[in-house]
C-alpha cells in the first residue's frame, strides 16, 4: 500500500551529500513529494524536511539513510504530529 511519510534531516554540507541522500531515497523505492532543505547560517550543514511516498518500509529507509556518512540525524515525524501542525 502506498504511504506518505515526512522525515526531518540534518546532514553535513559536503561535495554531494544532497545528491547522495536523494539517490538513496529513490533507489530504496520512495518518491520525493516535497523537499524543504536549506543550508544553515554556519554553512556547515543542511537541515530540513522531506515528504516521501512509497510502498516499502519507511523504517528500513531511515536505516539506509542513517548509513549515509554525511547524515547526522534523521527522524520520522509521526503522522499525528503532521495533522496537528
Amino acid at each position: 500500500m502506498t504511504m506518505m511519510h515526512t522525515i526531518t534531516i540534518t546532514l553535513d554540507a559536503q561535495s554531494a551529500s544532497l545528491q547522495r541522500l536523494l539517490g538513496v531515497i529513490r533507489r530504496r523505492g520512495f518518491d520525493v513529494l516535497r523537499l524543504d532543505i536549506s543550508r544553515t547560517c554556519t554553512d556547515g550543514e543542511f537541515q530540513g524536511r522531506l515528504r516521501l511516498r512509497g510502498t516499502r518500509s519507511i523504517e528500513s529507509l531511515i536505516r539506509h539513510i542513517t548509513n549515509i556518512e554525511e547524515v547526522q540525524q534523521v527522524a520520522l515525524i509521526p503522522a499525528a504530529s503532521i495533522q496537528a501542525a
Binding site: Q14, S15, A16, Q19, R20, G23, V24, R27, S57, E59, S60, R63, H64, T66, N67, E69, E70
Partner: protein, 552 residues
C-alpha cells in the same frame, strides 16, 4: 611539498604498500610523486583490472586495497570494480585524477563527473578542493572504508590540487580500527530463548562473518551448538568443510541438503548474510516455518527483505559468544546428516572420456595445499568451485558474489598473489570471463605473478546457455564462443606457459601444473559444451523445487 607528494605520504602513513593503477594526464602529478615513494605501483593494463586487483588484496587480507586511475575514461573504467566492492562490502580506496578545478564543468578533455557517477556504489566520496584538505580526506577515506560494514570510497583529485603547495602533514592512523557497537543485551537474551526453544534450527551464514573477523567465535558457536550450517557463496569457509553439520551452499545452485534443511527449519540463525535473492529463491516461500534471528553489523539489513523475529544489530563477534549454547536437537541433526548422505554428489561414470569439471575441481581440492587461494570468475565454473572445492576460510575464496562481474577472477588473483607472497593462488575462470580482462596476462607476465589459471572452456557463455536451454526452450541467443582463440597460444604469446587438455586421463597432469609449477601457468581445459550446473532452483521458485540432471 606539493599536494601530490602529500597524497602519497598520506598513503604511506596508512601503511599502503601496493597501488594498482594506470597513469594519464590528470593524475600525472601523483605519478611523479610516486617515483620518490616506497609504495610499489603495479601497472595493470586496464583500470578495471586495477580495481579488481585491489579487491584481491582486500578480500584476501581484510586490508584496504588501493587503485588509481586518471580522469575521464580511466575513472569510468573503475566503476564496475567499485560497484562490485560495494555490493560485496570490500574496503577499497579509489583515487581518480580530475581535470583542474577551474575546468570542472566545462566539458574539458577527459573530464567526467566520476563523483556523481559513483554516488550509488561508494560509501563516501570526495572532490579534493584544497591541498590542505588531503590529510583529513585520506584519513577519513581509510577509516570509512574499514569501519562498520566495509566498502569502497573514492577520492577525486584535481590536477591543480596535486600541484599546489601545502605545509600540511599526514594524519597517522590509529593503532586499530574501532569495533562496531556491541549488540543490545535484551536482543541477545531473546535470541537465546529462541535457540533454546527451537527443534530444527539451521545456521545460515554469509560473508559478514569474516568481515567481522569473527571466524573463531563463529566456529565455536557452531561446534558447541552442533547446528546444521549452510553458507552463502561469500560465507563458504566459515565452518571447515569437514564439519559434521555443514550442509554446503544454499540457494539457486546450492546443495539439495542445504536447501531442504533450510526449508524444513523452525529457526533460521542468520549470521552476516542478507537474504539475497540467489540464496532465498522465492522470498515468501523461503524457510516458510522458521522464526529468524538475524545478526548483522548493518542495522539496515535487519528486516530489509525478511522480517527478523529477533534482530541483533552490531558487532557479531560478542553476539556469537553470547549466543553460544548447546540446544537439545539430536533428532534434527541426525535428519540433516541423512539429508547430506542422501543427496551427496555422485561422480560421473568412470569410463567417460571427456573432462567433468566438478571431478577435476574435487581432485584439485584434494591435492592443493590448505592455504591455496581460489579466485573465481563468474559463471558455471564459479558455481562448480562453490559446490566442489573444500574451502577452509572465506578469505581463501575470492568471488564476485553480489554483482557477478565477469572479468573479476584473473585480476583478483593477481592482487591476492601480491598481498600473500608464497601462498598458492589459483584463478578458476571460463572462456567468457577470461576474455573480459585477458589483457591482464601482460601484467602477470611483467611481474611474474605466480597465478595458476585454470580455464574451463566450453566454447559458450555456459550459464546463459544453460538458462536458455532450460527456461527459453533451448533457443540459444548469442552464447556461442566456438570461435574462441587458442587460449594456450594466447597465453604463450604473452609469455606465460600453457597446457591444453581435453581428456579425463589428462586431469592429473593438469593438476600437476597447478599445484607444482612455481610461476604463472595457464591450464586450458576443454569441457563439453552442454554440461550444466546442478542442482538448480528455477528463478522465483521455492528452494525445495530444485532441478537436477535427471529431473530437468
Amino acid at each position: 611539498m606539493n599536494g601530490a607528494k602529500l597524497l602519497i605520504r598520506c598513503l604511506e602513513a596508512e601503511g599502503v604498500d601496493t597501488i594498482f593503477g594506470y597513469p594519464g594526464g590528470a593524475i600525472m602529478p601523483v605519478y611523479d610523486a610516486l617515483l620518490d615513494s616506497t609504495i610499489r605501483h603495479i601497472l595493470c593494463r586496464h583500470e578495471q583490472g586495477c580495481g579488481f586487483a585491489a579487491q584481491g588484496v582486500a578480500r584476501s587480507t581484510g586490508r584496504v586495497g588501493v587503485c588509481m586511475a586518471t580522469s575521464g575514461p580511466g575513472a569510468t573504467n573503475l566503476i564496475t570494480p567499485l560497484a562490485d566492492a560495494h555490493i560485496d562490502s570490500v574496503p577499497i580506496v579509489a583515487i581518480t585524477g580530475q581535470v583542474p578545478s577551474s575546468l570542472i564543468g566545462t566539458d574539458a578533455f577527459q573530464e567526467a563527473d566520476i563523483l556523481g557517477m559513483t554516488l550509488p556504489v561508494v560509501k563516501m566520496s570526495w572532490i579534493v578542493e584544497s591541498a590542505d584538505d588531503i590529510p583529513t580526506i585520506v584519513r577519513d577515506a581509510f577509516r570509512i572504508a574499514q569501519e562498520g560494514r566495509p566498502g569502497p570510497v573514492l577520492i577525486d583529485f584535481p590536477k591543480n590540487v596535486g600541484q599546489a603547495t601545502t605545509d600540511k602533514e599526514p594524519i597517522p592512523p590509529p593503532a586499530r580500527v574501532d569495533r562496531p557497537p556491541a549488540p543490545d543485551e535484551s536482543d541477545v537474551a531473546r535470541a537465546r530463548e529462541l535457540i533454546a526453544q527451537a527443534k530444527r534450527p539451521v545456521v545460515y551464514a554469509g560473508g559478514g562473518v569474516v568481515l567481522a573477523d569473527a571466524i573463531e567465535e563463529f566456529r565455536t558457536f557452531v561446534d558447541r551448538g552442533q547446528f546444521p550450517v549452510v553458507h552463502t557463496l561469500k560465507g563458504l569457509g566459515g565452518v571447515l568443510p569437514d564439519n559434521e553439520g555443514f550442509l554446503g551452499m544454499l540457494g539457486m545452485h546450492g546443495l539439495k541438503a542445504a536447501n531442504l534443511a533450510v526449508q524444513e527449519s523452525d529457526l533460521l540463525i542468520c549470521v552476516g548474510a542478507r537474504f539475497d535473492d540467489r540464496a532465498t529463491g522465492k522470498l515468501d516461500a523461503f524457510a516458510p516455518n522458521a522464526a529468524v534471528i538475524h545478526l548483522d553489523v548493518d542495522p539496515a539489513e535487519l528486516g530489509k527483505l525478511r522480517r527478523a523475529t529477533v534482530g541483533v544489530a552490531g558487532d557479531i563477534r560478542p553476539a556469537l559468544t553470547a549466543l553460544t549454547m548447546t540446544p537439545d536437537i539430536e533428532p534434527w541433526r541426525r535428519h540433516c546428516r541423512e539429508l547430506a548422505e542422501t543427496h551427496a554428489w555422485c561422480p560421473p561414470p568412470s569410463e567417460q572420456d571427456h573432462i567433468d569439471a566438478p571431478s577435476l575441481l574435487r581432485r584439485l581440492s584434494e591435492r592443493a595445499s590448505e592455504d591455496t587461494i581460489f579466485a573465481c570468475d563468474v559463471g558455471q565454473h564459479q558455481m562448480w568451485v562453490a559446490q566442489h572445492v573444500a574451502l577452509n576460510n572465506p578469505r581463501k575464496h575470492l568471488t564476485s558474489g553480489g554483482l557477478g562481474s565477469m572479468g573479476f577472477g584473473l585480476s583478483a588473483a593477481m592482487g591476492a598473489a601480491f598481498a600473500n607472497p608464497g601462498t598458492p593462488v589459483v584463478c578458476v575462470t571460463g572462456d567468457g570471463s577470461l576474455m573480459m580482462n585477458i589483457q591482464e596476462l601482460a601484467t602477470v607476465r611483467r611481474y611474474n605473478i605466480p597465478v595458476r589459471i585454470l580455464l574451463f572452456d566450453n566454447t559458450a557463455l555456459g550459464m546463459v546457455r544453460q538458462w536458455q536451454e532450460l527456461f527459453f526452450d533451448n533457443r540459444e541467443s548469442e552464447v556461442d564462443l566456438s570461435d574462441n582463440p587458442d587460449f594456450a597460444q594466447v597465453a604463450e604469446a604473452f609469455g606465460i606457459p600453457a597446457v591444453s587438455i581435453d581428456r579425463a586421463d589428462q586431469m592429473e597432469l593438469a593438476i600437476d601444473h597447478i599445484v607444482s609449477d612455481t610461476g604463472p601457468v595457464l591450464v586450458h581445459v576443454k569441457i563439453p559444451r552442454g554440461d550444466n550446473v546442478w542442482p538448480l532452483v528455477p528463478p522465483l521458485a521455492p528452494n525445495d523445487r530444485m532441478l537436477d540432471g535427471a529431473t530437468s
